[in-house]
Symmetry: D2
Amino acid sequence: MKSVVIGASGYTGAELLRILAFHPEIEVESAAAASHAGQAISGLYSSLLPFYSDAVFADVNTQVEEIASGGISVDVVFLALPHGMSQSIVPKIFDRVGLVVDLAADFRLTNPATYQKWYMHKHQAPEYIEKAVYGLPELTREELKGARLIAAAGCYVTCSTLALLPLVSAGLIERDSIVIDAASGVSGAGRSIKADYLFTEVDENFSVYGLKHHRHTPEIEQNLGATVLFTPHLLPINRGILATTYSRPTSRFVERLGADAEDSGHEFVISEMRNFYIEEPFVFVTDSPPSVKASLGSNNAMVHGTYDARTNTIITVSALDNLVKGASGQAVQCANIALGLPETAGLASLGLHP
Amino acid sequence: MKSVVIGASGYTGAELLRILAFHPEIEVESAAAASHAGQAISGLYSSLLPFYSDAVFADVNTQVEEIASGGISVDVVFLALPHGMSQSIVPKIFDRVGLVVDLAADFRLTNPATYQKWYMHKHQAPEYIEKAVYGLPELTREELKGARLIAAAGCYVTCSTLALLPLVSAGLIERDSIVIDAASGVSGAGRSIKADYLFTEVDENFSVYGLKHHRHTPEIEQNLGATVLFTPHLLPINRGILATTYSRPTSRFVERLGADAEDSGHEFVISEMRNFYIEEPFVFVTDSPPSVKASLGSNNAMVHGTYDARTNTIITVSALDNLVKGASGQAVQCANIALGLPETAGLASLGLHP
Amino acid sequence: MKSVVIGASGYTGAELLRILAFHPEIEVESAAAASHAGQAISGLYSSLLPFYSDAVFADVNTQVEEIASGGISVDVVFLALPHGMSQSIVPKIFDRVGLVVDLAADFRLTNPATYQKWYMHKHQAPEYIEKAVYGLPELTREELKGARLIAAAGCYVTCSTLALLPLVSAGLIERDSIVIDAASGVSGAGRSIKADYLFTEVDENFSVYGLKHHRHTPEIEQNLGATVLFTPHLLPINRGILATTYSRPTSRFVERLGADAEDSGHEFVISEMRNFYIEEPFVFVTDSPPSVKASLGSNNAMVHGTYDARTNTIITVSALDNLVKGASGQAVQCANIALGLPETAGLASLGLHP
Amino acid sequence: MKSVVIGASGYTGAELLRILAFHPEIEVESAAAASHAGQAISGLYSSLLPFYSDAVFADVNTQVEEIASGGISVDVVFLALPHGMSQSIVPKIFDRVGLVVDLAADFRLTNPATYQKWYMHKHQAPEYIEKAVYGLPELTREELKGARLIAAAGCYVTCSTLALLPLVSAGLIERDSIVIDAASGVSGAGRSIKADYLFTEVDENFSVYGLKHHRHTPEIEQNLGATVLFTPHLLPINRGILATTYSRPTSRFVERLGADAEDSGHEFVISEMRNFYIEEPFVFVTDSPPSVKASLGSNNAMVHGTYDARTNTIITVSALDNLVKGASGQAVQCANIALGLPETAGLASLGLHP
């Protein structure tokens, strides 16, 4: 199948090129970039030289027009653009392309009012919101089959949702009690050329950002049907997200455990998670809290949970690579499902350690 | 005044040597180490070469015996040893030395039963616990004046306590609702030669440790008179601690703000913190959340707080250098107070950035 | 085909497990470790959990005995042990196994006297030295076909040799003039639990080691038939080697260029390198100096060269991942050749960026 | 004495503010910045908050005009601007200020033709070149006394010159044989907001830049009276420079050593260096190769040298903090000398480790 990557000069775009280079069924027909059109792909990403040695970035607008006009025919379009741009592109190409996978936040929130509140502008293509299937296979696998527009879940959202979903959906966590304290590597900000992301500002540093107002909050709330306080931190690493969550157990949790909570709480939480993910190809429940390194460069997510009887708190810890399971790997996994390909096609790998 | 540093080959010991090199009143008479006795100080710490060019590490046992026997006379002894060793040394030297400052956890907990519960062995010198003054000047300055045995506060504990103390002591935070999510640079583990602290295991990584059971928990609880859930993480940086805390406001907080909580909550929290620390030489309340880099190499601590009306949560963020305000700088600050020296002697500096 | 990895708990061993997990022809029958026998592989390397979820490390001695006694039958044995151990294992298993690939230095030097001089002990199995084929496909591909014992080239050696080989073998570089200034990530030291490799000692640091005496020197000299001064540095990164070399051009080089050296020297050097590597699947000549990041996690090596007329110096810059093309990837590439498999089997991937 | 820092929002400017905060004789009257005028200093550098809590950046042009017009009277002006700007400012303020210390390259090269060749534009204030004293105390201490315009030496240049000067000036090194392979932390590039200096591009990376053409080359050549091939690399660290140099000994060196070169060469090189620096307050000759960490945050430089008889090469290794001894510390040291203050005033400190 033929694909086009639009927004290929950013980190999620380049990661799509890296993954698709060895995908058995989907090949990259063209890689378009806004600010680097006409330049060699390997000039920006020397790591891609061995596979894309002669390729240059196409221009985003030209590429979109060609698709919109039927000038070229493609099976899948991946949109890896800064937030807000997909809203103007999707209406132009939707009818011409079998599948559009959007990696941005444009079509993730199902309620346009919620979108407007957190993103502080009116959605430009609300009629496409309901055509979009939310792209988190562990939550929406059935809807993804045959989907024509996918809004792939965000990085923090995937990490947090995968940890909490088994427990929230089983009614074990109070839905107004969730605190998510998370940390991400710098690539989560994309290839943004801002002072905040200079090596000298991030290295040997650690800081909170978006306190109280991060836009991933409503997306997590939508997935869980719960209220969450979400606080992201910036880690001095390239890739990787770790989310530590704290929540109060419901009376149902307490009843299930009985007098035995202190001793059996941990095992109960772990076994709930294991049962939930037993069939999943990319989610692994670990015996001890995972570290971000376990997933580096792979589509594997690691989740862990426990119960602290002393403070009556359910704690989860989860980790993944924000550019793979948190973005481009997830987009390919969703595309595989939508297109009827094996779900793991092009995605089988293990994390680098060290 | 003459001082001896015992445990000088570890990171807090070496940091004492760095700070005391230019202290106007306290000089280092001897630096003793258990595993490196007889070796050049500059062989282990080339950074110390310019001041300690010909010095070698003395032997810990020999040094302790000399002090105990009155063979040498010193004004201050700093104990920078792995946890548990000070209990056997303090009884030997207490009567011979004007001031002992212990950087370990041996004499921090005032209740021996609490000590035994978290450290899982019986305290070896319980009669010295009540002689010890807890060394956190912002909490115990008056008691420190003229103290003869100081148990300097720990790194995580200082960072967390400084953030929460103004709000807890004003009755604004529910004492059973505090979650502390913190992260530390690797030097917090000391110079431990374990696989977990290899560069290749820590770099590009981020992980939880001591989940539910970290020994700093009861020390924070003792300072605040509250129950806390404390979760430390390991950061891929050398120095620095950041603590993010979440807690429920009391009805008193809500009453003080009235209908105006959403708008004025932030200012109220900040102003409470500012008033509390207005006279402090080393604690600074920042307008936005601080980052660990702000304190690198200095004794300065940065604290910030806010209120999230949406989830009815008080959030604080605080940062410091774990080896300075979190250990050796704090020890010197406490010694200055106890000895009647200017509190900032030897400690005036600004953090390195970048 | 069935393989056994001996020394699987070290970094090159774990990297073999990572690569072989998705090798189309070679599967891992057993992974043996000296110090972690009986432990879960995923306990040490959580990244390997998705593929090796239930596997435990076998014991090295037991495994060697089983192979030696014919108790199990394997096609390939990979030895990923600390230096010196292969000398005692190879004689035991050589007759029982189709192919032994040694990742250590034991069988790389063809002259036992040179071995003894640099390693400062007598070789324990000199009769196997001449049975061994040196494992650097770009230099020894023909000899590798059908080999039964391969001494895979070292990491610094591969990086330096690939850069200099085209120019030395064309007679363009004076053979007594070569300076190699190189730097490696910390994984080059293996999983050594020593103070020198603690995060706190390496992070934000850069230093020379093995000055004048590094054991990779004679191996580079053997490959090039030249005398080299080789100086390695320790980089605060996990993986990656960069080698910068300086050498004097021969009169032949000067004659080829004529009066035009200043203008055409660069192009000439680059074109010599391109012609040399035009058929190679894993060596890429870059237009500008490569960085280590270009190869992260992949078997791709990047080489570049130029001529500085002002100082009459040929300069090369080359980069690779020391654990892949510098160790485990190379071992698999050599095994593929020896076993008649496609040379790139299991090795097709692009470097992670960022 | 009153000083003004012009260019205070960059890293060398902020480092001047950090150092001068506790200088016993020089105080900062004003800190001017081009792009951040009117903003709080602590907004950009939270580390400076404790000392500069209410200060804002003045505007560079306004500040320069005020000095030029005599509107304010200052004793010292530090220029910490991007290269090229000092040429237009110095002529305006030179007659109004007792001492101008320029941290840029504008007045370092004594030959305007050399300047034009390497910087590729005509010098704008050549008449001030001969008024300027080159600011490297170990080379030009006597000329610095009473100087009115100082061109402080660059970071790579200081590191390389300090290592080679004792040996070159003693006639032990062939002046056409010097290769300098050096590496710097990212702060050496200043606070440049470019893609090349993003965390995600530098972290876990290592690369060559300015190959064959770096502008520090002629400055090193001027200091040594020699031809050098200088190759800088970019290190994934904030601060620090390490320079490794390779050169051929002269016949004088060989004669001095006689048949004994292999055994005594090392000691001879070291003793030459020690004798040369015996009186220096900030240069330390180390027994083994220094690492960059030894100087972090301090004005101390570490130098080491040896002789490799096998390849007949003199090797030196030297290290310093590029923002202190390589820039702002050096500027203060030079100012101290010029103003008749104690040379070490405000500069006594030891490097941070870890």
